[in-house]
């Protein structure tokens, strides 16, 4: 890993233990508008996967006229192949809390809630202890902002922002219609900033070093660095912070096992990039955006099994609320099984692709809309593996 051509970065896990005090003091000595302008200037986009400009999200929420506003930290990391938020929460939780407090100060919220997936409950005792200390420190600084933690209960869909709100409100985690967006009507119908764990840590680091330091990394469309969760057929599985904008080929040169035939970028709901497209595909918003999941497959893997695994996952995790997703996920799964078992002719894959496109247009939330990503990219690039 020494002679890497990739841009290794150490912002997220940098830990000099002074964040909660020095960064907050610096932030509180400035106007909220200036904090928000720094975020906009940095070009930071949400690191959960959707990639909305963080500074704009904060600005819209600040501009809403409401006595009650919320900051929510989305720690419901459930995308297959993603595990970086767990590591961030384990290693630098105070930087996450600090990011929440900065957001709270910027938008004028008094309450922050961190929604932690149930699978990470083992982190709870430590997080609660640190949160209590942090809340006391905020009181001492006379910032009227308090953080609380809520647990999920094993539902992937609760990572979708409006489903997450429903869950905190004590309901089934079924996504809401949009608009209204959370900046207008989020948790309990109040203006809400909801950010991914990693996004909040970047907010802390941008407040610490200024936007220019962040802009040193990445490209025009993909500013900054990103934490990647790397798994699958690689000798170097793990968590790495890298500058955005590299090609898949550069990535594979560094992390592949010499026999990489495909990389799934962005988890089960992301895109499958085959070997012939490694050179032409950029990892970032100008190419394939990602919440950080990078899964490598070598030639010993059947892409039928990979797709089957993803579809099985979506069929189970679909909340069942809207018909395109509830029925679509099941039919795509049954459909590839039928083609594999020769109960349907290979042409049937074209019908299934149309179904996936229909889901993209008609499903209510990101889950159903994004099933087409893996489905079409795997079927198009590995058609023979699906049929035979």
């Amino acid at each position: 890993m020494e002679n890497t051509r990739l841009h290794k970065v150490d912002l997220i896990f940098e830990n000099d233990g002074t964040c909660a005090t020095t960064v907050l003091d610096k932030v509180l000595s400035r106007k909220p508008e200036d904090i928000i302008n720094d975020m906009i200037d940095s070009g930071l986009k949400g690191r959960g996967g959707a990639g909305f400009l963080t500074g704009l999200k904060w600005k819209f929420t600040r501009n809403e006229d409401s006595d009650v506003k919320y900051v929510v930290c989305n720690a419901d990391e459930g995308e297959p192949g993603t595990f970086k938020d767990r590591e961030i929460l384990d290693k630098v939780p105070e930087k996450v809390f600090t990011g929440m407090a900065i957001a709270g100060y910027a938008i004028g919220a008094k309450e922050g809630i961190l929604y932690l997936r149930a699978e990470y409950n083992f982190l709870l005792p430590k997080l609660e202890r640190m949160m209590n200390e942090f809340n006391k420190a905020l009181q001492a600084k006379k910032l009227d902002f308090t953080i609380d933690i809520r647990s999920g209960s094993g539902a992937y869909i609760c990572g979708e922002e409006s489903a997450l709100f429903e869950s905190i409100e004590g309901k089934r985690g079924e996504p809401r219609n949009k608009p209204p967006y959370p900046t207008v009507s989020g948790l309990f119908g109040k203006p809400t900033v909801i950010n991914n764990v990693e996004t909040l840590v970047y907010a802390t680091m941008i407040s610490k070093y200024g936007p220019d330091r962040f802009k040193e990394f990445g490209t025009k469309d993909s500013r900054g660095s990103k934490v990647f969760s790397i798994s699958g057929d690689t000798p170097n599985a793990g968590i790495y912070e890298l500058g955005l904008g590299m090609s898949v080929q550069q990535f594979v040169d560094e992390f592949g096992d010499g026999d990489t035939k495909a990389v799934q970028i962005g988890g089960a709901s992301g895109m499958c990039v085959p070997r012939k497209k490694f050179n032409d595909t950029i990892i970032g918003y100008e190419g394939v955006p990602t919440g950080g999941s990078m899964m490598l497959f070598n030639s010993s893997r059947s892409m039928y099994n990979v797709l089957h695994d993803y579809l099985d996952f979506f069929a189970e995790e679909s909340c069942g609320q809207c018909t395109p997703c509830r029925v679509g996920c099941q039919q795509l799964l049954k459909g590839i099984e039928a083609v594999k078992n020769k109960n349907k002719t290979p042409d049937y894959l074209e019908n299934l692709k149309k179904l996936a496109e229909t889901m993209k247009l008609s499903a209510k939330c990101g889950l159903g809309q994004s099933v087409a990503n893996p489905f079409i990219s795997i079927v198009d690039n590995f058609r023979e593996e699906i049929i035979y």
Partner: protein, 155 residues
């Protein structure tokens, strides 16, 4: 064992008698008893003044809020892609042989329930399993058996 009534009162103290208290209450009951009975759900509905159908509807939405009888130790083996690639099938087989139950079943002494679950966020260290809240990554069949045997020796 803490009574369900006591759990409800404690959570109502923190969150108030509103729907917001529902998830924390259900989670705390499952933490204590490993699953929700019909009586528990009715008691929660009464305390929050909502219909018991609403409580049931919410509980059954979430994988970790079980309404079927579960053992003291609930084992969840990750079955998603990277754990699949790194050998979750062998782990499940080893656990089935050791516990002498199938996936979805509970041992006759009500000590263990064996389940599979979707991605748990340990893709670089698969295969992985949860036993209640504890995580056990980088499993081999031998390692998984040894861990479960340690639980067997416990109360």
């Amino acid at each position: 064992m803490t009574e369900v009534k006591t759990i409800i009162q404690e959570k109502l103290g923190k969150y108030g008698a509103s729907r917001e208290a529902l998830m924390p209450i259900l989670q705390a009951i499952v933490q204590e008893k490993n699953y929700l009975t019909e009586e528990d759900m009715v008691a929660v509905a009464e305390a929050l003044d909502i219909s018991s159908a609403d409580v049931y509807g919410t509980a059954t939405f979430y994988t970790f809020l079980d309404i079927k009888s579960r053992g003291k130790y609930v084992i969840r083996v990750c079955k998603t892609i990277s754990c699949h690639m790194s050998g979750k099938d062998e782990i499940i087989k080893a656990l089935q042989d050791t516990l002498k139950v199938g996936v979805g079943d509970t041992t006759p002494d009500k000590k263990f329930t064996l389940l599979t679950a979707n991605c748990m966020g340990w893709c670089h260290k698969g295969p992985v399993m949860l036993i209640n809240d504890e995580v056990y990554p980088e499993l081999t069949p031998e390692k998984a058996i040894k861990i479960v045997q340690e639980y067997m020796a416990k109360e």
